[in-house]
Structure formats: C-alpha cells, structure tokens
C-alpha cells in the first residue's frame, strides 16, 4: 500500500468530496467529519512521503501503469514532499476550524456543499503539487481555481460575489496563459512530461517559442499567486471572503500556485535558463522590493483587519520571489522557509480574525478595544502570529527573513537588507496598533467579557496549534531549515 501513497494523497480528498456529497443527499450531517478525516489522512500520508523521500530519494509513480513520457507521472521529491506537508497540514487545521465556523457564518443548508467544494479545492492543490506532467498540472489548477472562486462567494457579504467574479476573470486569464505556455512548449518538444521537457529544452533555449512559453508561464501563474502588479483581485477576494476561506486562499492557494511556477522554472526550464538566458531575476529584483514596501505602507493605512492582512500577503509573496531571484542556496532556503512560515502565520491570522469576527462581528481594528481582556487567549495567539510577521527572534518569521538577508549579502546585493528592515518596521507598526488597541484600552462593555471567552474549542485548538508551531519552529529552526536547505540545493542543482 505504501507504494501507492503518491496517488492516495490526492485521491483521498476526492473520495472525501464524493462521500460528503452523498452523505448530504441522505441528510446526514457528516460533512465536517468526513472532511477532517480525509484531510487528516492526506496529511499523514504526506508526512510519511516526506520521510521516505528524505531517507531514500525521489519517488515516481506511473499512473495507469504507462511509463512517462507516454503516461502521466507523479513525482514526489524533497520540494514537492515539503510543500505537500505544509499544504495538507494547513488544510487539516482549517478543516477542523471550519466545523463550527461554517454553521454560523455560511449557514446550515450550504454546509455540506461548502465542505464538498473545500475538499475539491484540496484535491486540486495536492494534485498540482505532486504532478510531474505539465498538462495534468493545468487540469488540477482548474479544479482548485473553480473551487476557490465559489468559496469566495459563499459568504454573506454582498461584495464577495463581485470579488469572486473578478477573481474568476483574472484567474481564468491566468489559466489560459498557462495553457498557451504549455502549447508552446509542446509544439517545439513534442512532450508534456516535465522531466522529459527538461532534457529536450536545452537545445532550444534560444528559440523564441520557448521564450514566449516562459513569459506566459510567469504571467499566468503570476496572476494566480498575485505577483505585484497583478495582485488587484487579491485584495477584495481575500478581504471579503469568509475568514476560513481567506485563510485557505492565503495560506494554501497562493503558495501552491507559486510552487507551480517554481516547479516550472526550476525543473522544466532549469536554473541555467532562468538565471542566464532570460532577465527574470532582474525583473523580480525590481518588483519584489516595491511589492514588499508598498504593500506594507498600504497595510498600515487600512483599518479593516482582513484588508490589512490581504495587503500584507502581497508583500510576503514579494519576499519569496526575492529569494528566488537571488539565486543562491541561502536565499532559496529562505524562500522555502517563508512559504511554510507565511502559510502558518497568515493562515493563523485569518483564522484569528475569523474567531474575533465570529464572536463580536467587528472588522475594524479600532473596535478591538480591550480584546486582550475579553478574549485573552485569542489575543495571545494573535500577538504571537503578529510578532512572527514582524520577524522577532524566536519566531519562525525571524528565521526566514534572516536567511533572505544572508542570501542577499551572499549575492552581493546588500541593498535589499534595508528593504527587509524597513518593511519589518512598517509591519511592526501596523501590528502594534492592534496590540495596543487590544491590551491598552478598556473594553467598551466589560460586562460581556465572560460571554466572549466562550469560543468553541473546535475553533481555538487549530489556532493554538499553529501559534505553538510558530514558536516551536522559531526555537528549533533546524528541523524545517534542514529540509528547506536540501530542497533548495536540489532545485538549484538541477542543471
């Protein structure tokens, strides 16, 4: 059975979605239970896969028994194994959280279908991670995208539907661009398998067709993971969606689309192409600092907590992109670590915002007066996530920023260090406001303090686990660092 893990990790959420839908037809309320079980199994299998690739090297699984390049291949290596664990973990946390959250925020009649779509989203994301076939990547990209569009619109906010529509239009343009890129590559190589493409491309590095394909991949995926300045859809989609959905979009969907671009850049085109044949690093060197600083400034100007978090995501994507452009092991390690860290921090922050809105209905941080007294546990976890976003030592946020800064020095580009510092300072300012409102102001109505403590444990426990991990991996940084470093070496070594 172990040998089938690469496919099971994707197919279990799919079966979960189907069973959830069937259970809905029989009026049984098993949606949340099935979802949690399916995401848990996926997470467990991902962990086992990561251990085994760490011990013995990459796994290739031939779907349908057809050898690549004729059939579709699934590939688990250190990079995909690492991202698989991150995404399946965060999807498990958000699934647990959603049990109570969905009942109140989305409504009982939509509950079953919410979880069906949630599981389909996870199927799509996990499928994108393990696939070694570039067209299969597109198919699963579309599963994840469609599910994502619908999830944005299920909330009660009117504007969310418009946000979802805009997300759909830009997302589809991105997907069609990816499809065009695939067509261009297929045209000159005659294959769709990523490993096979890598072998056949070097002779064609100066072909205009290949260059065009590369441009469309970057723009297509860039639209999907909100690469500055293609991020416009993100702000309304992430801020108006229900908080659990915002969390999965920011923590998982952005990451997986970024992963897909990295997959294409590093294992299809190889570092030799992306760093030497095209000026993509130079472009990222311009985009990333602007994204990092501008988004921090804009986040500082927001009073709506979710909009603030959405702006901050654009900057965090900027950090990851910067690490890719710096092109050395240290910086790329930083990027990979930041993918994990941002998934934990932003996932955690959106869930916490969800809890506070769930309990108090307050979106504006100026209304969060005295939350430190009325919802102490929630505010502590918020503070931990906030400190990590700033990059305070002993949190994960510090580790990845440290690696990025060291990578910048190593690349001889010291001028990115002030950028990181300024952005950290701005981040400190916009989180400090909230912490100040929460701890140093008296609550409007102290009487309801007791009432507000009663956040369901089903919602609090995943948040507390995330906050714990932020500190744990901040202190014992070597565990993810070792994995990320090995994955970075593998990516850069594929020459």
């Amino acid at each position: 059975m172990t040998s089938h893990f690469p496919i099971l990790v994707v197919i279990i959420p799919l079966f979960g979605a189907l069973l959830t839908f069937f259970s809905g037809l029989t009026r049984r309320k098993w949606a949340w239970q099935i979802t949690t079980l399916a995401t848990f199994l996926s997470f467990a299998i991902s962990l086992e896969l990561l251990f085994s690739v760490h011990a013995t090297g990459g796994i290739s699984y031939h779907l349908g028994g057809w050898a690549p390049p004729w059939g579709i291949e699934y590939v688990v290596d250190l990079f995909s194994g690492y991202v698989l664990v991150v995404i399946s973990f965060i999807s498990l946390m958000i699934a647990i959280f959603s049990g109570e959250y969905v009942k109140k925020q989305i409504g009982p009649e939509r509950e079953t279908n919410f979880f069906v779509i949630y599981l389909l989203l996870i199927t799509g994301l996990l499928g994108m991670i393990v696939t070694g076939d570039i067209f299969n990547l597109y198919v699963f990209l579309e599963i994840a995208s469609l599910a994502g569009y619908a999830l944005v619109a299920v909330g009660k906010k009117k504007g969310a539907i418009v946000a979802s529509y805009n997300y759909l239009i830009l997302g589809t343009i991105g997907a069609v661009f990816v499809l065009l890129g695939i067509g261009h590559l297929y045209m000159v190589t005659g294959t769709l398998n990523m490993a096979d493409l890598r072998e056949r491309l070097p002779d064609l590095y100066h072909s205009r067709v290949v260059l065009t394909a590369f441009v469309f991949f970057v723009i297509g995926f860039g639209l999907k993971f909100a690469l500055f300045p293609l991020h416009t859809w993100l702000l309304s989609a992430h801020s108006l969606a229900p908080s659990a959905v915002s969390a999965i979009l920011a923590a998982a969907v952005l990451k997986v689309n970024l992963y897909a671009l990295m997959r294409v850049m590093f294992t299809v085109f190889t570092p030799a192409f992306i760093y030497e044949a095209v000026p993509i690093a130079e472009i990222f060197f311009v985009i990333a600092p602007i994204a990092i600083v501008v988004s921090s400034v804009m986040a500082l100007a927001q009073t709506n907590i979710k909009r603030m978090l959405a702006y901050s995501s654009i900057g965090q994507i900027g950090y990851i992109v910067l690490g890719i452009a710096l092109a050395n092991e240290t910086a790329l390690t930083g990027s990979l670590l930041h993918m994990l860290n941002h998934a934990l921090m932003k996932g955690g922050l959106f869930l916490i915002a969800g809890v506070i809105i769930y309990q108090t209905g307050r979106y504006h941080i100026t209304d969060w007066k005295g939350l430190g007294k009325t919802m102490p546990l929630t505010m502590i976890t918020f503070t931990i996530c906030g400190l990590s976003m700033i990059g305070v030592p002993l949190t994960v946020g510090f580790v990845s920023k440290w690696y990025l800064a060291m990578g910048a020095l190593e690349a001889g580009r010291w001028y990115f260090i002030p950028v990181i510092l300024v952005s950290s300072l701005l981040t400190a300012m916009y989180f400090w406001r909230i912490i100040e409102w929460g701890y140093f102001h008296e609550p409007d109505d102290p009487a309801d303090a007791a009432d507000r403590c009663a956040v369901p444990w089903g919602m609090m426990s995943p948040i507390m686990l995330i906050a714990f991990l932020i500190v744990f991996f901040g202190v014992f940084a070597s565990i993810p660092q070792e994995l990320a470093h090995k994955a970075a070496v593998m990516l850069l070594g594929v020459r």
Binding site: L63, P69, N113
Partner: protein
C-alpha cells in the same frame, strides 16, 4: 484549402461581431455560430472528436446557459455609468487605453513566438515526432481501442480525464451552492 481560408475569415468576423454587438442576445447567437464554424473548421483539420465536442458544448450547452442567464438578467448592454469628472482628463483618457495596450502587447509577444514556429501543417514538426507516433503505433495492440483519441483520453492520459470529470463536477457543485434557493 480555399474552404479553410473562408472558414477562418468567417470565424474572425463572427468573433468580432459577437464582441461588437450591443444587444447581448445577438452576441450569444453569433457566439453559437462562431463555435459551430470552429467545429466545421476542426473537422477539416481531422480532429473529429474535438469538433463533435465543440459543436455539442460550444454551440449547444454554452449557448443555452448564456440564454438562461440572460433570461434572468438584462438583454441590452447598459449605457456605461456617467464618467466622473476626472481631475486630470489626460490620465482618464490614457487609462481607457490600457486594455488595448495590454491586448496589443500580448498579441506582440505571441507574434514574436510564432516567428520561430514550424510552418502550419509541417509533417516533421517536433510536436508530431516525439510522443505522438508511439500512440499511433502501440495504442491498438496495448489497449484494444481503434480510436487513438479515445485510447489516449481513457487510458494513457486517463488520469487527466478523471481530473476533467472532477472539474465538471466541481462546476456543478459551485453553481448549486451559488444559485440554489430551496434546499429541501
């Protein structure tokens, strides 16, 4: 050859007309014609399966869905909202040109890429030489299927097709969650 050319021109004309008509009902009808012409064109390019699908989906289901959506909304394209008094009229008029610029830029990139492509119909184009001949030689002995497209669709790339069915299932559930009113 001449027929292909006429069909291609007709497709472009239909595409333009579908975009330019103010009345959306007309647009939808022309879009249906566009899909049907596309299907005929593809039959001429020997892709019978795709043509069949495009005729059923593009000209059939898509048109019906568009009409159904139209019956619940508006038939005419509305007059655009009165433009706000712009502080800098120059910037406002430039910003209206941005979409055109984006489109032209995309077109330019595509033209640039196309310059290095093998000619249309080139039998020795790389796309036809690497993986494809294997299917043509082996698919019947290996899968027992006569239609190569079905053999690849269902067997060699059967997992893609599972993904495809999942996509359409996802779309169904998405539409249900968005539009269903009475849940009982």
């Amino acid at each position: 050859m001449i027929i292909d050319f006429v069909l291609l021109l007709l497709v472009v004309v239909c595409g333009l007309a579908a975009v330019l008509y103010k009345n959306i009902l007309n647009s939808i009808m022309i879009l249906g014609a566009y899909s049907l012409l596309m299907a005929i064109l593809w039959t001429r390019y020997n892709s019978v399966d795709v043509a069949f699908t495009e005729a059923a989906v593009g000209a059939g289901i898509t048109t019906v869905l568009l009409l159904a959506a139209l019956s619940r909304t508006l038939v005419e394209e509305e007059e655009p909202a009165a433009p706000k008094k712009a502080l800098f009229p120059v910037i406002a008029s430039i910003s209206r040109l941005i979409p055109l610029g984006v489109v032209l830029l995309t077109g330019a990139v595509l033209v640039y890429g196309t310059l290095d492509m093998p000619n249309f119909g080139d039998p020795s184009a790389p796309a036809n030489l690497h993986v494809a001949p294997y299917y043509i030689e082996k698919s019947h002995p290996e899968t027992g299927v006569i239609n190569f497209v079905t053999a690849i669709l269902a067997s060699y790339r059967g997992y893609d097709t599972l993904g495809e069915v999942t996509v359409i299932f996802t779309a169904g559930i998405c539409v249900i969650i968005l539009l269903r009113r009475r849940w009982s």
